[in-house]
């Protein structure tokens, strides 16, 4: 088994473990994520139909609706959110959902950024561990 350790930047810290779901295409959670099931429902997106619940979701950034934050917050509460989200730059919409989840339910979502080269290493179905200090450890 191959192991790769990437140095990520913490946006909201937290340990997480899960299987990777990766796309090099941005996503709006409103109209793109079903907070009841964790399914990606943007029918024009490459991950359409995939279940992101408990996965390590890696997308470069969000697009579209400002309701993305409310959808992610609801998913965190309903326990249908990804285990963590990796982006290429700090995503304000995801960060806010995580911080409000911390304020309301004391359950922030782990958020890490990777530079574009490191992000490109990620592959769907990689086993990923995110550490408290922002390391992204890939096993494949």
């Amino acid at each position: 088994m191959e192991k790769i350790v990437l140095e990520g930047n913490i946006v909201v810290s937290g340990e997480a473990v899960g299987v990777a779901l990766v796309a090099n295409e941005p996503l709006s959670f409103w109209g793109g994520y079903d907070q009841k099931t964790g399914e990606i429902i943007d029918r024009r997106h490459i991950l359409s139909g995939k279940i992101a619940k408990d996965k390590i979701l890696a997308i470069p950034f969000t697009r579209g609706s400002s309701t993305t934050t409310a959808v992610l917050l609801d998913a965190i509460r309903a326990k249908t959110a990804p285990a963590a989200i990796i982006t290429t730059d700090t995503d304000f919409f995801f960060a806010l959902a995580s911080i409000v989840a911390d304020e309301l339910f004391s359950s922030p979502l782990s958020l890490v950024t990777l530079n574009e080269n490191d992000f490109a290493i990620l592959k769907t179905d990689d086993e990923i561990q995110i550490t408290n200090d922002g390391k992204v450890i890939i096993s494949r």
Partner: protein, 421 residues
């Protein structure tokens, strides 16, 4: 980088000005730190997208703030909610949805806001002015405020907009700051006829294309021969903020921060130049269709909310025509524009044609459409972008004229003549 706060910011953070401001300021400070902002700035207005009802979490947030006595510190308008407050029973909305959605409306209304219930707050006479620092949610409103008015807002999400409104403060970052408002990608319109540029249908198609290519960058459009109307800008921005994350665009010679190409780019070179051809536009138009038949159950217009001008245009198009009995025709708008349409005497004409009007919300934010509606048609790039995922319905795209003609014929009609050349 450290965040510098004023004495008043600290007072709010400590809770000296009440528990609601304490939570709001705490969230703002944490987000400002994540965003590497150096300080906060004062805003003169806010538009709250948090009103969109998603589920228990957003409601809990709203009711928590309301129960702590939250009041807005600046003039604040409200975005669409999850129901048409007085008419939701006429649609397929369940009371399990309507009750919490209505509680969320009451919570935000209790904070001293204006209950505008619209995704198009820029239609109101109270819209912001050039250079105003504001905190707006709702992607189409954000891009309109920044680009067409020249007011300044970051691309704010739900839940944050209300924190800014309660405190009157926002992180000094992103599009609030002059240096971050320079264009990044130049889009040159090549051989696009003035006839097409004058037509409303051009703008959602162009917006969909530019959003997809620009993603989160600031596009600059060069080569428009005419000044688009506010409704055309609305359709363009809504499209670009759906297929991409566009929060600001410039149009050379037309929008307020782009009197010249050099102005638009703050005297820098574009990072990228893309020539927009008719082939690209035809492809973008095709991508707005998500259906494989000409069957039609409902036409939906007013995404973003129908303006008075659009009400009048629609009235003139349906005059003397008869809608096909198997096709429903839905207008989504706000109470203010619908009231003006009423005063202008055009609602009876529309109702004779068989139009139904929904206010406060829309078919994307309220589960109002019955399951037998499977095939929709719209003149909106935004509606077309989101309806397959949000509603699970097929959608066809056309001009307002196409929409009316299709509603009359009972099946989808799309005029190809403008797109052939």
């Amino acid at each position: 980088m450290t965040l510098n706060l004023t004495e008043k910011d600290y007072a709010m953070l400590r809770g000296d000005e009440g528990a609601a401001k304490k939570i709001a300021m705490s969230i703002i400070v944490r987000m400002a730190e994540i965003s590497n902002a150096e300080n906060l700035l004062s805003i003169v207005g806010a538009h709250i997208d948090s009103t969109v009802y998603i589920g228990d979490a957003g409601l809990e947030f709203a009711e928590k703030l309301a129960s702590l006595g939250a009041k807005v510190a600046v003039p604040t308008t409200l975005n669409v909610s999850g129901i048409d407050e007085h008419h939701w029973q006429e649609w397929a909305v369940s009371s399990e949805w309507a009750n919490p959605a209505h509680r969320q409306m009451i919570a935000y209304q209790s904070m001293g806001t204006s209950p505008t219930w619209t995704c198009a707050p820029y239609q109101a006479p109270t819209k912001p002015a050039f250079g105003d620092q504001i905190a707006w949610g709702e992607s189409n409103a954000i891009v309109f405020a920044n680009s067409v008015i020249g007011a300044r807002t970051e691309r704010y999400p739900d839940l944050f907009d209300i924190c800014c409104a309660i405190t009157g403060r926002a992180p000094a970052m992103g599009l609030h700051l002059t240096e971050n408002r320079a264009g990044q990608i130049l889009f040159r319109l090549l051989n696009i006829s003035t006839e097409l540029q004058k037509n409303d249908v051009f703008y959602p198609v162009l917006g969909n294309l530019i959003g997809k290519l620009a993603l989160d960058k600031i596009p600059v459009i060069d080569g428009l021969q005419i000044r688009p109307t506010d409704d055309q800008f609305k359709a363009f921005g809504a499209g670009a903020a759906s297929s991409g994350g566009v929060a600001l665009f410039h149009v050379v010679g037309i929008t307020p921060e782009a009197s010249t190409l050099e102005d638009a780019f703050h005297d820098n070179e574009p990072a990228q130049i893309i020539d927009v051809t008719m082939d690209m536009l035809r492809e973008s138009r095709q991508a707005l269709n998500h259906t494989n038949s000409s069957k039609l159950d409902m036409v939906a217009v007013g995404c973003p909310h129908l303006s008075l001008v659009e009400y009048k245009k629609l009235a003139s198009l349906v005059k003397g025509k008869e809608k096909h009995p198997d096709v429903q025709f839905l207008i989504t708008s706000n109470r203010a524009m619908t009231q003006l349409a009423q005063e202008a005497g055009i609602l009876p004409l529309l109702k004779d044609f068989g139009v139904k009007i929904t206010v406060d919300t829309c078919s994307l934010t309220s589960p109002m459409l019955p399951p037998e509606i499977k095939k929709m048609m719209t003149n909106s790039a935004k509606h077309s972008y989101y309806s397959p995922g949000l509603l699970g319905k097929d959608v066809a795209f056309g001009s307002l004229e196409d929409c009316v003609n299709s509603a009359v014929a009972g099946h989808i009609i799309q005029d190809e003549s403008l797109w052939k050349k």
